[in-house]
Amino acid sequence: AQSVTQPDIHITVSEGASLELRCNYSYGATPYLFWYVQSPGQGLQLLLKYFSGDTLVQGIKGFEAEFKRSQSSFNLRKPSVHWSDAAEYFCAVGPARSNDYKLSFGAGTTVTVRA
């Protein structure tokens, strides 16, 4: 069964500092991997995704993530955080080839940005 673990429930970071959010997954083969962001009271917006090729993927809002097969990880990074990055972030995993497609989400990491 596929599963996702986000070890950090809450992270506080200063504006302008770097940010890294951890994501570990469990899946039998190479999955599709996603990071979504949810601002307060909003739905989920896709930040970036990995499905093949270059293991370092670029997303919107200056985010990037690196797929490391050996570590079953897909960590999200941003070099310099802006106050508007305060939100909840979800990592998700789905099967690369399946007609019965279900995406599994981690519990989320809440990011607080301090001035």
Partner: protein, 113 residues
């Protein structure tokens, strides 16, 4: 572009009442999903559909029913609401092909008293 639209956005129910949440998508997506979001638990899949007229159970289907009579609509029903169903509900859809990205609605906040 409307994308995925959920109605209603807010609802308060009394225990034992019934209600239906409607999800509509205008992207001609084959797959549709209902998730619930609870603090510290992320999103958990309730039911999903891989095509018109088909539905399947997710992780937490008990107490919910769904129907997909039209390709663009996916309804989530609560026949007898319980306080444990107080949550934020998200509908999502995706295309059969492609890389599996889900498109989400803005959520429906349900409170059961």
């Amino acid at each position: 572009n409307a994308g995925v639209t959920q109605t209603p956005k807010f609802r308060v129910l009394k225990t034992g009442q019934s209600m239906t949440l409607l999800c509509a998508q205008d992207m001609n997506h084959e797959y549709m999903y209902w998730y619930r979001q609870d603090p510290g638990m992320g999103l958990r899949l309730i039911h999903y559909s891989v095509g018109e007229g088909t539905t399947a159970k997710g992780e937490v289907p008990d107490g919910y029913n769904v129907s997909r009579l039209k390709k663009q609509n996916f309804l989530l029903g609560l026949e007898s609401a319980a306080p444990s169903q107080t949550s934020v509900y998200f509908c999502a859809s995706r295309n059969r092909e492609g890389t599996g990205e889900l498109f989400f609605g803005e959520g429906s906040r349900l409170t059961v008293l």
